[in-house]
Amino acid sequence: MTDLEIVSTLPQDERVLLMPLVRTTKVFWRWAAVMAAVALWGAVAYVYQLRNGLGATGLNTPEYWGIYIICFVFFIGISHAGTLISAILRVANAEWRRSITRSAEFITVLVISFGAVQPILDLGRPDRVLNIFLHSQPFSPLLWDVLSITLYFTASSIYLYVPMIPDLARIRDLGLRPRALYSFVAIGYHDTPAARQTLERIIGILAVAVIPVAVSVHTVIGWIFALTLKPMWHSAIFGPYFVVGAIFSGIAALIIAMAILRRVYHLEAYFKDVHFNNMGLLLLVTTVLWFYFTFAEHLTVWYGGEESELATLYAKLTGAFAIPFWTMVACCFFIPFALMARRKTRNVTGCVVASVAVVIGMWLERFNIVVPTSLHPRLQAATVHYTPSWVELSIMAGTLAGFVLIYMIATKFFPIVSIWEIQEGRELSVHEVSERVASYLPDDLAAVER
């Protein structure tokens, strides 16, 4: 029996969710080829940069940081999609999470590695990257960052992996290929009630533990900027501002991923309108939060009126960066707010449009944080400009394509929706939830008094 025949005979949940592992369409190959080509082109650009030094970029004095650092902050922000959101939903016992956590967690683990690689692309001496461990300087926020990202990556990987074990064991038991892989990753798990209970306890602990780690990651990234004395970087709000921004862009990225998965793998039954509605509500909340933080940040600068800070501020509001700035405001606030505030537009299309806007807007936000400040140092006339070179743009495209490609490949090896959690939901949750809801309701007074 071929893998396809095995899967075709399974009951609905398993059949639908395991189908992508055994059947690959032409469209898939075509997209994979495109993504691979773009990623390869990015790699070529990087080799070019290695051979020519960072002079291959559009960076200069004082624009020391550009696209790579923007993408770094952006990707790490997106990575908050998964682990943090899924952990919060899990801890909050949000039942509708069951079908979306896995895809979210995958985003995290993959994007985080593509994000973490960005500062290395940005190094003048990537050959010396190990110096960070050989000569660590504990006061450097960059070191904290390396540590928190490593921790977050490890935790997210475990957090992705552990809840996947029962599914992997099931696949092993079904005998899908490559068998060696599945029997290896399933680490001899057998889905007994006792094992399931242990597993759930571990997941519970992980979900709680991973939240502060995730928060720390983007806080520290905010601090990389905030701990310098640069105008409009030196801001106490940056830690939480970055975390909110990260969750914001993460949710948007997740919505887009869900919409695509739903379409290509016919998962309409799993990513339902209610999921989009709920995610849309989350997006709405973060939209408002984002606006609040952005407003607070800019108001303080404007009100304080410090000369060098104002130079940067006005460059954004009315100067050379007015276009990216106001586009950002439109993409991050007006568009998502308008769409998500109304029940009618909180459908799949509305959510996707809003999310695409948010993702673009959040990239621009990173741009608006990094570039205008760099170009307006305290002691130099602002005559310098920054135009990213083809190398930077190619590498950015390459990393994006690389991420998509690997995500695509991942969906070919691992069920992108957690099968056992869905089944568990079907079997247990309805009962559990009604019990829980009952527990929220006022107690019977007589019973209490007695």
């Binding site: 691979a36 290695l50 051979r51 020519n52 001496r125 050959d127």
Partner: protein, 777 residues
């Protein structure tokens, strides 16, 4: 679909490995420099010499490590530069080590301009020149040989002059960095040299656009003097200028003035001084001629300068003309009149324009009227150098006087028949002339063009033979302080390093050619080498009975005082030892400034000093311009020329920056990285315009533009600068020439818009009167 999951993975892995291998070939040096067992500490030495990169001739001290020059410092013993150097002087190393230096003599094999040369031996090359010279020489008549000489000094100038005498040619054009002030002193005071300014002794320096901190005769002299305490007070420097120049920034006061009106300002200042009685009427009556009305030798009556001042110098009129507010004008006049040791200074900025001579006369009259001639802190004449033996002494009758040869950039090629042989020494006419094509054509007409340039510059490319000179760090020579310095200084230029490539000092080449030619020429060339000649001069100074080898600052003052009392302590050294001290210390100087010596005031038979003397009046009126009462130091004809303000609305003012030499500097990337301190320009020619002009012409900083005049055009980058005045476009000279091989500056030649204009009155270049328009490209 043929691709399986497996093959896809294999492909991806392969790409990864290939990528890794590609990355491995990157440019990072893998091995760190290590110290071998034969390592020994470096041997550090210092050699004193003289900078030849501009006529200031500062003292340098070269730091050598194991015999290799690694840094040029100032020579602290040098009496003028006192250890200071301008950035150019420090960058001289880049001339020495320039990757594009010619490695030896070259002979043309391709057609002119084709860049096809091949190496040739020194002997063969010299034979070729000698035989060309012999066949060109015409007994009796003038030999058709021509020399074109850039900035040369000391023995090298003398060798050229002497050799011309031997050859029997008078066709020499030399750049001697003249600003007409020698001419002016000749007419007013009967003194044949340019003036010296006792800046260090002045309590007020009033500079009429003189580039004291930029390209002045000796910027180091000026830099050292500005902060001097004079008679217990710190000196006050006032810069009157058409733009906020580097000198203006460094001055204590900046007075902004409209272009072309500095003569009017001088007139206005004199008016206030006269009205306030701030001059020594008694002294003027005794010593000054031309102040009151007078009658010429031929009986014609002349209006005295005083009358003209009172008639044309009214403050409101002058203020309207110059743009200097009446209050500023009055305060300035009172300050200058009241200063005990003030001096008014000017340079090319004043003289190199139509009407410039009258302007200079008016400025000079300020010094005369307030009794600053020959006084401490005033206008002096450099003390005489002891006579130095040299090759120019043995001139053939009627041979050249380099001092009267015209300035290269404006007058070459001279009318008349083309020479048979043309020597280019330190000169690059193709780049330095307003129109390169004329220069190229002129060079193409000459059967043998010999360039001595150490670089493959624009003119050397048009030569038949290139006999590369040593750089100034590899050769012997001597260099005198410029006339602007009050006391004589003789700097020794000596090789600080053995020639790096197969070059030969041009002086030695001249001697070699003369020897080869035999006869009287060989007899003239009695020195083995330039070194020999410099040595001979040095020895003669031992017998001069005054001065000393360079000594430290305290000894300098001491010596000055001793000599001032009429003493001179023989050094108790044998001449050879004295010579050695001169060489080791960098040169010889005489600290004495004789303020009592009337000869620095006037050398006319009656001992008087003239204001606007008869000859000046005659020249001014001959120029045919409408001159009220014979002359007026105000030129209003500019707007009318060039088609009026409509076609060419802007005034072009070229200036020099300290970081650019006439032609040599584009060879020095260290300087090109820092061209304009005021606006951060680098590696390109820029124009400065004020915000108002930018608005009216629709221009922005960073734009490329073409500056057009009725004569020509050049391209530049716009810098909008608040220090530029409305209606004026300022442009730095000096990025006109380049040698390929080490960074290509985006330079232009502002002279191509200026053209070959000459002021008929002074015979000097008229480079400051051009009207232009600016067009975006």
């Amino acid at each position: 679909m043929a691709i399986t999951r497996r093959s896809f993975l294999v492909g991806a892995a392969g790409a990864g490995i290939g990528f890794g291998l590609g990355a491995l070939s990157h440019q990072f040096p893998l091995a760190s420099p290590h110290v071998g067992p034969d390592w020994a500490p470096n041997d550090e030495t210092f050699v004193a010499s003289t900078c030849l990169l501009c006529p200031a001739h500062c003292g340098i001290r070269v730091r050598l490590i194991d015999g290799r020059p690694v840094r040029i410092d100032g020579n602290p013993l040098h009496p003028v530069s006192q250890g200071g150097l301008c950035p150019k002087g420090r960058a001289g190393l880049q001339l020495l080590y320039h990757p594009s230096r010619l490695k030896g003599p070259l002979v043309r094999v391709g057609p002119p301009g084709s860049d096809e040369f091949k190496p040739i031996g020194w002997n063969a090359a010299l034979d070729r020149v000698a035989s060309a010279l012999s066949s060109a020489s015409q007994p009796g008549g003038a030999t058709p040989v021509e020399w074109m000489v850039g900035d040369v000094s000391g023995v090298c100038g003398d060798l050229v002059a002497g050799f011309c005498g031997v050859l029997g040619t008078t066709r020499v054009s030399v750049d001697d960095y003249r600003d007409g002030s020698a001419d002016l002193l000749g007419m007013c005071q009967g003194i044949a040299t340019a003036p010296a300014f006792d800046l260090a002794g002045a309590d007020m320096v009033l500079s009429f656009g003189a580039a004291l901190s930029e390209a002045w005769w000796s910027p180091l002299h000026a830099a050292r003097a500005r902060d001097a305490e004079v008679a217990g007070r710190s000196a006050r420097w006032v810069q009157v200028d058409t733009r906020l120049s580097r000198t203006a920034v460094g001055a204590h006061q900046f007075v902004a003035i409209r272009p072309g009106t500095f003569g009017a300002l001088a007139l206005g200042l004199t008016y206030v001084i006269v009205k306030e009685g701030l001059y020594d009427a008694d002294l003027v009556a005794r010593q000054v001629a031309g102040w009151e009305d007078w009658t010429g030798a031929d009986g014609t009556p002349h209006v005295g300068y005083r009358t003209l001042v009172l008639r044309h110098g009214r403050s409101d009129e002058v203020s309207a003309r110059t743009g200097v507010p009446v209050a500023t004008l009055t305060a300035l006049a009172k300050q200058f009149g009241g200063a005990r040791r003030g001096v008014a200074v000017w340079d090319q900025g004043v003289a190199w324009r139509s009407g410039g001579m009258a302007d200079a006369l008016a400025i000079h009259a300020l010094n005369t009227l307030t009794g600053r001639l020959g006084r401490r802190g005033g206008l002096l004449v450099q003390g005489p150098m002891p006579g130095l033996p040299g090759p120019a002494e043995q001139k053939a009758p009627g041979a050249v006087d380099l001092a009267s040869a015209p300035l290269t950039a404006t007058s070459w090629p001279a009318a008349g028949s083309d020479p048979k042989v043309l020597f280019l020494y330190h000169a690059n006419p193709v780049a330095s002339l307003p129109d390169p094509d004329t220069a190229r054509q002129a060079l193409a007409r000459v059967p043998l063009v010999v360039s001595f340039s150490p670089f493959f510059d624009e003119s050397a490319r048009c030569a038949h033979l290139i006999l590369p000179d040593h750089t100034y760090l590899e050769r012997w020579q001597d260099a005198l302080a410029p006339a602007a310095v009050p006391s004589p200084v003789w700097g020794v230029v000596r090789p600080v390093v053995k020639p790096l490539v197969n070059t030969r000092a041009t002086g030695d080449v001249i001697l070699g050619l003369a020897t080869r030619m035999g006869g009287s020429a060989a007899a003239w060339a009695r020195w083995k080498s330039v070194e020999d000649l410099v040595h001979e001069r040095g020895l003669s100074l031992a017998g001069a009975g005054r001065g000393s080898a360079f000594v430290d600052r305290f000894r300098q003052r001491e010596l000055g005082e001793v000599e001032g009392r009429g003493w001179w302590l023989p050094h108790g050294q044998k001449p050879e030892e004295f010579w050695q001290t001169i060489v080791d210390s960098g040169g010889w100087f005489d600290p004495l400034i004789d303020y009592e010596d009337g000869a620095s005031r006037s050398q006319l038979p009656d001992g008087r000093v003239w204001m606007f003397p008869a000859e000046a009046r005659a020249r001014l009126s001959k120029s045919g311009r409408a001159l009220a009462e014979g002359f007026l130091p105000i030129d209003e004809s500019l707007e009318a020329r060039d088609g009026g303000p409509r076609d060419f609305p802007l005034q072009l003012i070229p200036f020099r920056v300290m970081t650019l030499a006439s032609g040599g500097t584009p060879l020095m990337p260290w300087l090109l990285e820092h061209l304009g301190a005021l606006n951060g320009s680098a590696w390109e020619t820029w124009i400065e315009i004020g915000p108002e002009t930018a608005r009216s012409e629709g221009l922005q900083s960073g734009q490329r533009v073409r500056v057009e005049s009725s004569r020509g055009r050049f391209e530049a980058t716009v810098r909008v600068s608040p220090g530029a005045q409305p209606g004026v476009v300022s442009v730095p000279y000096g990025l006109h020439s380049r040698v390929e091989g080490w960074g290509e500056p985006n330079g232009a030649n502002p002279l191509s818009a200026v053209g070959r204009a000459v002021d008929p009155v002074s015979g000097l270049p008229d480079w400051q009167s051009t009207r232009v328009r600016v067009v975006r490209i």
